[in-house]
């Protein structure tokens, strides 16, 4: 039962600290763009508190799919974080819901709610944003699945906790070429899934990922926004779990190490997303995705021929 406690614990702690790293990323981005930026790293907390005091409007055509959208988005993001094994180990109760396919299909659930809410809002840009989000996943998912498939086949299981422990103890790892190549393509997939420039920009034009956020106000807005940040953390967590799992066995220390590692990834992504224009979906994005798909297929072929 204690594993369930740690599962809840890890979700709550990450929910509490995620805005801090968002604040760090915003400060850093402002510095890179020669702007003044927020005064300190706590600006995102202040924003959230401010939003919670605001009143809300909703489009009168919308029904419960849109109106409860932020809460279900946040909930799915939190569930994604819960099934990533940060503080619990194998042979615990919590390990039996920490499965690669659960993570992938929870991600699908997030997109499902996102898309349905975006059309329900009646907002033209939200609909375009929802459509784009689906299209992104069409490009990303084959890459992600191929990389994960290689890892799962090497580990002979789809249980994330067991995969993590195998990589930790060196049963599988970078000494296997297929694993090493898969880590590259998965890193790409993870970066795109976290919704950053040049693939997407979470706080940019309305028709992009946050299209549906354009219709939310007040607490709804901040909850939906936080849900998307949670998803980014979950995606980074997925990468760390499989490809960089080194940590302590003590759950509290493991959580601290995880937060630091994930935070570094989250903030460091600013160095990528700040430079270069955004990709167009059917031209440069597609060629990018094809390259990543090629890399993941190399990993797959390496596995198939037994290297």
């Amino acid at each position: 039962m204690s594993s369930l406690f740690f599962m809840i614990f890890q979700v709550i702690v990450i929910v509490l600290v995620a805005p801090f790293f968002d604040g760090v990323a915003r400060s850093l981005r402002a510095k890179l763009q020669s702007r003044k930026g927020p005064p300190d790293f706590l600006q995102t907390y202040r924003d959230i508190i401010k939003y919670f005091k605001r009143n809300r409007t909703v489009p009168h055509c919308s029904h419960w799919v849109f109106r409860y959208g932020p809460y279900t988005l946040f909930g799915t993001g939190a569930a994604l974080l819960a099934v990533i094994p940060i503080t619990y180990s194998s042979h615990s109760l919590a390990a039996s819901c920490s499965d690669v396919f659960v993570v992938i299909y929870l991600g699908a659930m997030l997109r499902y709610i996102f898309g349905a809410a975006s059309i329900d809002s009646g907002n033209p840009f939200a609909g375009v944003g929802g459509s784009r989000e689906q299209m992104l996943s069409v490009f990303v998912e084959p890459v992600m699945m191929t990389s994960l498939l290689v890892v799962m086949l090497l580990a002979r299981t789809s249980n994330l906790v067991e995969i993590q422990e195998m990589v930790r103890s060196g049963v599988i790892g970078y000494q296997i070429p297929a694993f090493a190549v898969a880590s590259i393509s998965f890193l790409w997939a993870m970066y795109v899934e976290s919704g950053r420039n040049p693939y997407d920009l979470a706080e940019a034009e309305q028709e992009l990922q946050e299209g549906v956020l354009g219709e939310y106000c007040g607490a709804d807005f901040s909850i939906a926004h936080a849900g998307l940040i949670l998803k980014q953390f979950a995606m980074i967590g997925m990468f760390l779990t499989i490809f960089e799992p080194w940590s302590f066995t003590n759950p509290f220390l493991a959580l601290i190490v995880f937060i630091v590692k994930a935070g570094v990834f989250y903030v460091a992504a600013v160095f990528i997303d700040n430079f270069g224009p955004r990709h167009k979906l059917l031209t440069s994005f597609r060629s990018n995705a094809l390259a990543a798909l090629g890399v993941s297929f190399v990993a797959l072929v390496l596995y198939v021929v037994g290297a």
């Binding site: 508190i49 005091k53 849109f66 569930a79 349905a116 929802g130 459509s131 069409v138 086949l153 002979r156």
Partner: protein, 653 residues
């Protein structure tokens, strides 16, 4: 078992006798089939692991003997389960057809249709199998006739044509097999010694025959034509159940014949192609019932992935691989029946309320039809395999089976299995885009005010029918370990065993991956409550939100601004244009009138596989028509000639 069948016969006869009293006939006829199906589902579930026989002691051409083993029990359960919801739904839905035809006849045919499917899966010799098989086809074709229109007539012709081809292949396969075994009884078919070539020919004939009925690629084209043309309660049965009866045939043949490795791989490749192409074509449909029919192609593909893994497992003599493959296939069979039945019933309610199958002019119906909207929402979640609903569990098993297959030695199987896993994952992504099926119909603002104003919630029996399947979606997901346990009873009757449902609500793959669906459901619901907790703690949302128009960048909002079904998949359509070959037309009517834009992507396989055959047949018929000149004496000469020919043949052999 016989009492279930007799109840259907009773329902059929009674509703025919009440031919004169239209509305009473439909209530009683569908009522009896509801009772029969409910009782049947209970009966087949309770006796799922048992074997039973019965024979009628009437000396017909053949003495009809029927026997039911665990596999038939399972399929009978699936049939009656969906028939229960669909019959209940039909009690009030059929009233819409009162002006189009006799409801008594409809109820009678409906009962017979269910009965014929049940008899197909319980037939124990070739003769009765083929009789019931053809009856099933013909009765369903009659039922499509209730939507009397030129397009449904064309659909029936295509359907019967394919069914004819399939029936021929199946009969040839049976006769070849019977020739080897020396008997028409199914019991004599097991482990008949035969050459690999002959076995392969029999397998291919059976695979094509049953596969064309199941709607696998490239024989899938009849499905999106015939299923939407039928009344909804019938489409739910056709799409949810009838195509599964064909899978029953494939399973039977694979258990009889000496299986070879490449058969399994062939089934998997066809399955992967069907699932990908099915979902891609589904995405571009404007007719929501055709969209659902294409989804059946996709799901048949997923089931074939599971069954193919099982067949491959038998071939390489790996009982656990065979078991997990068949488990996945059978689990997805019942799951697909449930959520596809649900989606068709939901679509029928929308059709009932709006009288249109065009998705692009609907919208905002959730406000008028909240229960139907909820049912469709759950149905789309189920088909998108989102945890903790039922679709997720069976896809999980399918993934596990294919992964285990990919672990084996040999480059070719590894390639086939790994690429099929990726195909299934891509299918999963594409199915999520089907949120548009829900969102465009039920969410947003109404696109056609008149339709919206006239729409009203479906009557109570229709809602009950849908809610039954909604409960099924949850129960077969969260209760996965119980379901797995029962399907394992079926699978172990012909294959090896492993502990698929360990104590404590878990489900497990032979490789040792274990998940617990109740726990996943708990985690998701717990996580869903977290944001509400935050809202309460932050004391936010104390006032109700103000309702406004959506933001349109300062312009006055119009419902024409919102997203519709076509553009939602626009990028995908451009990406995949080689597959759709759509030719958009733009007609400019001058400055003050709207531009007319049409874009109807097509199924290119129609032109590749079907059109040449249709042309050839039309040409041949044109030539043969000379023989049919209306002169009786010439016809008598034909008969005489044929008689002489057969005499000559029998003399020579």
């Amino acid at each position: 078992m016989t009492d279930v069948y007799l109840l259907y016969v009773l329902g059929s006869v009674v509703s025919l006798l009440l031919y004169k009293y239209n509305s009473i006939a439909s209530k009683i006829g569908f009522g009896i089939s509801t009772v029969a199906s409910g009782y049947g589902a209970y009966y087949f579930f309770m006796h799922i692991g048992e074997t039973a026989h019965f024979s009628t002691n009437i000396a017909l051409l053949y003495n009809p003997t029927f026997s039911i083993d665990p596999v038939s029990n399972f399929f009978s359960f699936v049939i009656t389960l969906i028939a229960f919801a669909s019959s209940m739904y039909a009690i009030q839905y059929a009233e819409g057809y009162a002006s189009k035809g006799s409801l008594g006849v409809m109820a009678s045919l409906f009962n017979l249709f269910i009965l014929s499917m049940l008899l197909v899966v319980s037939a124990s010799d070739v003769f009765w199998f083929m009789i019931c098989w053809e009856l099933m086809t013909i009765i369903s074709a009659f039922l499509i006739c209730f939507n009397d229109s030129t397009s449904s007539m064309k659909a029936i012709m295509v359907y019967l044509g394919i069914a004819h081809l399939g029936g021929m292949c199946i009969l040839s396969a049976f006769l070849l097999l019977a020739h080897q075994s020396g008997s028409l009884e199914f019991s004599s078919f097991t482990s008949v010694p035969m050459s690999p070539l002959l076995a392969s020919i029999i397998f291919l004939l059976a695979f094509i025959g049953f596969g064309s009925k199941a709607g696998m690629f490239p024989f899938h084209v009849w499905l999106p034509k015939a299923h939407p043309a039928a009344p909804t309660n019938v489409s739910a049965l056709m799409s949810g159940v009838m195509i599964k009866v064909a899978l029953f045939g494939i399973i039977k043949f694979c258990l009889w014949l000496p299986v070879m490795e490449w058969w399994g791989l062939l089934i998997i490749v066809i399955g992967a192609l069907s699932s990908l192409l099915g979902v891609l074509y589904a995405l571009i449909q404007h007719d929501y019932k055709a969209l659902l029919a294409y989804h059946s192609v996709e799901n048949i593909g997923i089931i074939l992935l599971g069954l193919g893994t099982g067949v491959y497992g038998i071939a390489i003599n790996s009982p656990t691989l065979a078991t997990v493959g068949f488990l996945a296939g059978l689990y997805h069979t019942v799951n697909h029946a449930i959520f596809k039945g649900l989606l068709f019933l939901g679509a029928g309610s929308v059709l009932h309320a709006t009288h249109t199958r065009e998705i692009e002019i609907l919208g905002g119906l959730a406000k008028k039809m909240p229960y139907t909207a909820f049912a469709m929402f759950v149905g789309v979640m189920g088909i998108a395999a989102l945890p903790p609903l039922n679709g997720f569990v069976s896809e999980w098993f399918t993934y596990q089976g294919m992964m285990q297959g990919a672990l084996g030695e040999g480059i070719l199987p590894r390639f086939v299995f790994t690429f099929s896993v990726i195909a299934l994952a891509l299918t999963g992504v594409l199915v999520v885009i089907h949120l548009k099926l829900y969102a465009v119909i039920f969410a947003g603002t109404p696109r056609n005010k008149e339709i919206f104003d006239h729409a009203k919630e479906a009557p109570i029996s229709m809602i009950l029918g849908m809610m039954f399947l909604v409960v099924g979606c949850f129960a077969f997901g969260i209760g996965a370990s119980v379901v797995t346990d029962n399907i394992m009873t079926v699978v172990t009757s012909f294959s090896g065993a492993y502990q698929a449902a360990p104590e404590g609500g878990y489900i497990a793959s032979p490789l040792g991956s274990t998940i617990s669906l109740p726990l996943i459901a708990m985690v998701i619901s717990g996580a869903m409550s977290l944001p509400f907790l935050i809202i309460v703690m932050m004391k936010a949302n104390r006032t109700a939100p103000r309702e406004t128009d959506p933001w349109a960048c300062g312009f006055k909002y119009s419902s024409r601004m919102q997203m519709t079904a076509g553009p939602f998949t626009g990028d995908l359509r451009r990406l995949m244009d080689w597959l759709f070959q759509s030719k958009p037309t733009v007609e400019d009517q001058g400055y003050f009138k709207p531009v007319i834009y049409t874009d109807h992507p097509r199924d290119i396989w129609w032109n590749i596989f079907y059109q040449p055959v249709i042309n050839a047949v039309a040409y041949a018929v044109d030539k043969i028509a000379v023989m049919q000149n209306g002169s009786t004496s010439v016809y008598a000469a034909y008969i005489l000639g044929a008689l002489c020919l057969f005499l000559a043949i029998s003399h020579l052999i």
